[in-house]
Every structure is written in C-alpha cells, then in structure tokens.
Amino acid sequence: MTTTIEALSAPPSVPPVAAPPSVSLLKRLQQPRVSLALILLMWLPLTIYVMFGSYLGDPLKSIVLMPAVPATLLLYLVAVTSWRESTVAIVGVTLVFFWLIVAVTVPFLPLADPDKPIAPFAAPGIVKHGHFFLLGADFKGRDMLSRVLWGCQRVLVWGVTATLAAYVVGSFLGLVAGYLAGWWDQAISFIANVLLSFPVMVLFILILNYLGSSGFNIVIAVTFASAPAIMRLVRGLTLDTKSRDYIFAAQTRGEHPLRIMIYELLPNARGPIIVDACLRLGYTTVAITTLTFLGLGLQPPDPDWGLMIKESAKVAMLWRFAYMLLIPALSVSSLILGFNLMADGLREMSLRD
C-alpha cells in the first residue's frame, strides 16, 4: 500500500531513462526477437547434445547445455507472464516446461547413470547396494528415476524436430498450392490425398520399415504423415488471405511470388498455425513413443519412454512391478497433456481477442 502511494507521489521531474529495471526487463524479454533468441539459446544446445552428443568430446559435452539452463528458465517466466489471462495455458506451459527444464538440467543433476545396472527389480523407495531408489529399478537394475528424467530429452528433441520439419514442408506446399493455384494446386492436392487416405499408423509402419528405425527416419516419417494435413490447413488460410489488398499491393510492387508467400501470406496465417502446431506436437510425441514401443523408433540402450514401456511390457506384468510401466506412461501422458492444454489455452485467447 505504502509503496504504491510513494510511487504515485514520486516527483515528476525524474528523467525517463531511470525507469524501474525489474519491470522493463520482463517487458524487454517479451519482445518477439528476444524470445526467439531465448528459444534458440535453449533449443540449439539441447539438439546438439541429443543428436550429435556422441561426436562431441567429454569436456565439450559437459558445457554445451550450460547456456540452455538460464534461457529455459527465462522463457518459462516470459511464457507465464504473457499468457497470464488463461489458466489452462499456464497449466499446459508449466507441464511442458517442467520436462524442458528437466531436459536441459539432467546432466547436472546428481543422478545414477541411467544405463548402469545396480539392483534388478528393486522396489520404489528402498535402499539397495548403497543406492536409494526413489522410483525403483527396472528389470535390469537401472535406476528408474534417472531413466525417466533422461528419457524426456530424446522425445522432446525428436518430437519438436519432426514437427518443425513437417511444418516447413507442409506450409511451403500449402502456400504454393493456395497462392499459385491451378496445376500446382491439383498436383499437390492429389499427393496429399494419397497420403491422407492411409491410416497414420500404416503409413508410419511402411515408411520406417523401408528406411530403417532411427531418429532421423522418424522425422521423415512424421513429415510424410503430417505434412498433408498441414498443407491443407495452410492452403485454406492462404486462399482466405490471398484476395486482401496488401497482397495486391505487393503484386503491384512487382515482388517475387516466393517473397509474397513468405513475407506477406505466412505471417498473417500464424494464429491458427501456432495452435495447430501445439496439438501436432502432442500427436508427434504420441507417435514417437508408440513407434518406439512397436520397435520401429529409437533404438536401445539410451533411455527413452517408449523403450522403457517396450522392455517392461514383457517382464513386468505383475502388480509388484507395475511401476515400471506406469512411470514412463504417466510421464509421456503429462507431456502430451501439457501440449494439448497449451493449444486449448491459446485457442481460447485467440478467440477472445
């Protein structure tokens, strides 16, 4: 109370340069450019760590994730403050960022080696061989807590990469089909129809069988499966905005069609695209976990949620060992729930505006 009165009664002669730094810092972080920089600062180290970790030397590997930790925390702060108006979005963002923070900090946490067998079938909450098992150990004796925390890295990195790849391909084709129309539209739409007439899982199975199972091939498979739907969405949005005056203005200026598509059409379609991307991140996470469970996705021995389910499903069909299945299942569900709630919150906010 007293502070507000003081603030209100502050002498007007204070120069504008001395604005309170705590408020302006957050505001400054919320600028799109700064947020983008933070996202890159979080994402690049994580991607490098997960995809190319084996090529990095040990000293490099231990420092590469360092800049990502503060960037992730700041991003969480920015996301919570800018989506304050929707509780649903905040819950979703919190769930997603919980796993993101785990992903970037997990090498620095005092955890057991996720691949080291210690005490097979140790129950949750007991001490065995001088190691405390908070979440128990799996059938090979590897610490479940450590495995489940390490497991989020690969799902997050491959899931986001795959969704991003699908979006790049899908939106480009959608823009071409919508803007250029005619022959381009017919050809692209026919290919999209062929791919859309497959049940998704059948498409995944066929593609991954042909390419072999690895993270990069999952990216290709997800692109094939998701790009047609994204293409339809972007095509619809493009058809919608194509006849606006600013597009005609750009055409009259003589701009290249590619430039019009990327600089004029795409930014104005971003609202529905962002909401759809959140949902699709959820689908992709499901797909990766499921494919890994089916033996077509990521390969052992690195910890991964789908692999944990796959390995335990054969040996853990007993009430006593149910935690081996439940822990990865609930982890993946919480991440997907986070993406879905985020999409719901964003849609709600965009409808309100």
């Binding site: 059948v202 199975i205 499921t290 069909m317 299942a329 993946v332 997907i336 729930l337």
Partner: protein, 316 residues
C-alpha cells in the same frame, strides 16, 4: 450425387494402384529377400549358401525378376481373386486376412457400440448448458482421456483392472480358445482413447444449436424442455457428430495396431506390423489396401451422410 460418388471411387482405385506399386518397389530390397530366405531355409543354411545357389533359390521362388513383373503378376492374380501366399506364415493371404479382419471387426464393433452412445450422451449433456458444472466436468474428462495416448491408457487400465483388481485377464492372445473376457481391456482402451474427441465435437455442435433462434422460440413458446431438446435440438446437433463418428473408423484402424500389439490380440493391426517387419510383401499389400479402402470408404460415407442429413449443402 452419383457422379460425386463415382469420381471418389475412381480416385480411390487410382490411389490403390499407386500405393500397391510403391509397396512392391519398397519391399523389393535385398534385405527383405534375405529375410524370406532365412525364414524358409534357416539362418545357417543361408550363410552357408554360395552366391550362385542363393541366386538359384531366388529364381525358384520367382523373386529374381524386376518388381514390376511381380507387380503385374500379382495384379493378374488379384483380378482372379488370388491374393498370393504369405511367406512368413505359408498360408494363402486371403484366409489369413479374413481371420484377422473378423477378430479386428469384433473389436471395432464393441468399441463403436460403447463409444457412440457414451460420447453422444455426454456431449449432449455438456452442450445443453454451456459453462455449467456438468459441461466443465465433461470437457475436463474429455481433454484428459484424449491426452492419454493409447499405450498409456492401455497400461493404466491393465495395471488397475488386471494386475491390481484381477477382474480381467491382462493378455488377449486367446490361447485357450475364444474368451470374451480377454476382449474387455482392448475395447475399453480404445473407447477411452476415442470417446473424448467425439464428445467434444458433439458438445460444440449442441452448444451452437442451443444458442440459435429457433430453440429460443421453442422454449419461449412454452414447450417442455425435454421436448425442445429431443425433437428440436438433437436433429441439427447430431449432423456434425455423425461425420466425425464415421471418420473415427480411420483412427480406430491406427489405434488398433498399438492395442493389438500391447494385448497380443491376433488381429489385423498385428498382422500388418508382423508382415511389415518381415517383408512379407503379399500380406502387406493386402493389409494396406484393406486399410486404405476402409479409410477412403469412411470418408466417402461421411461426405454422403453429411449432404443427406444437412439440407443446406448440395453438391452441384
């Protein structure tokens, strides 16, 4: 209308022709041929085989010709009703497929029989009064259950119902003959995974109808609320859910793979996965074509149903 159906069916045939040719090209690789050899002769025999003998074996099996030759032979066979033989299970594909399709059909039948009434009722109850406690409760449950992937739902249900309470068997392999109790968990998993989406769509459609002028008129006219809902609102509110329910066939077909593998239920999804992992090309062909056929057919049915139910839409 007929022209529309005709063109869609023609497009489906074109898609199926393209797809089957691509599958033959994909599964023509040396890796899959070797797998077939290993399955038939045994791993040791194949590694002991000289290159010449291996080529001779391929010749004998008819695998040594270009894939398009095999493709045309296969197409000619299909035209005569012969879908080929499975390399892995050495059984005619048509027999194998029929058996598995019946099993999956049984699964899908029960899923729909439970899912449709459940999701429609919940959706209508939620949509009757937007923002009410019941509405929010239904929406919350719907978001939660659709967010759980099938694999997680399957695990949670197995742990609670089969491992904890021991009410139902955890495994649906049906080793000792047919047992309906083994069908409970797969059906429940698919219902739980699927009903939320349909319920949300029904809710949205119902909520939209409830705000329309003619419903207000009916209420203000003094008609009993029950009658307004049953006679006036439902008719229009159920058009959108109909198309969505039909399109769920496509989803179920994907979900079935995971559920069948997890519960070891001998159905269509497991057949497809096994065949794909093995490179059993004739089985993959038949299974993929059935999947594409069902998917496209459900799209066509939902389109036709939508036009028939909604008099405002007419294709010219």
């Amino acid at each position: 209308m007929l022209k529309l159906i005709g063109s869609r069916l023609l497009q489906m045939l074109l898609i199926m022709a393209v797809v089957s040719l691509v599958i033959f090209a994909i599964f023509d690789s040396d890796k899959f041929k070797k797998q077939i050899a290993v399955a038939e002769l045994g791993g040791f025999a194949v590694s002991a085989l000289s290159d010449q003998d291996y080529q001779a074996w391929l010749d004998r099996k008819g695998l040594n010709v270009p894939f398009y030759d095999r493709y045309f032979k296969w197409v000619a066979g299909v035209a005569r009703g012969d879908l080929g033989r499975s390399y892995e299970k050495s059984e005619p594909v048509s027999q194998l497929l029929a058996k598995r399709l019946i099993n999956t059909g049984m699964l899908a039948f029960w899923v729909f029989a439970l899912m449709v009434p459940l999701s429609l009722t919940l959706g209508i109850i939620a949509g009757m009064k937007e923002g009410s406690v019941r509405d929010r409760a239904v929406s919350f449950i719907a978001v939660l259950t659709t967010s759980l992937p099938e694999i997680a739902t399957a695990i949670v249900l197995t742990v609670i119902l089969a491992l904890g309470l021991r009410w139902v068997p955890a495994n649906s392999a049906m080793v000792n003959g047919w047992d309906w109790r083994q069908l409970i968990l797969p059906v429940l998993t698919l219902v739980l995974y699927d009903f939320g989406y349909v319920a949300r769509m029904t809710r949205a459609s119902m909520a939209e109808v409830m705000t329309s002028q003619y419903i207000r008129t009916a209420v203000l006219k003094g008609l009993p609320y029950r009658r307004v809902i049953l006679r006036h609102a439902l008719r229009n509110a159920l058009i959108a859910p109909f198309t969505i329910i039909v399109l769920q066939l496509n989803w179920i077909l994907s979900g079935v793979v995971v559920v069948e593998v997890f519960f070891q239920y001998a159905g269509f999804g497991q057949l497809l996965l096994d065949a794909a992992l093995f490179g059993d090309v004739y089985v993959i062909q038949a299974a993929t074509l059935v999947a594409v056929f069902i998917a496209v057919l459900s799209q066509i049915i939902s389109d036709i149903g939508y036009t028939l139910l909604n008099p405002r839409i007419r294709f010219s």
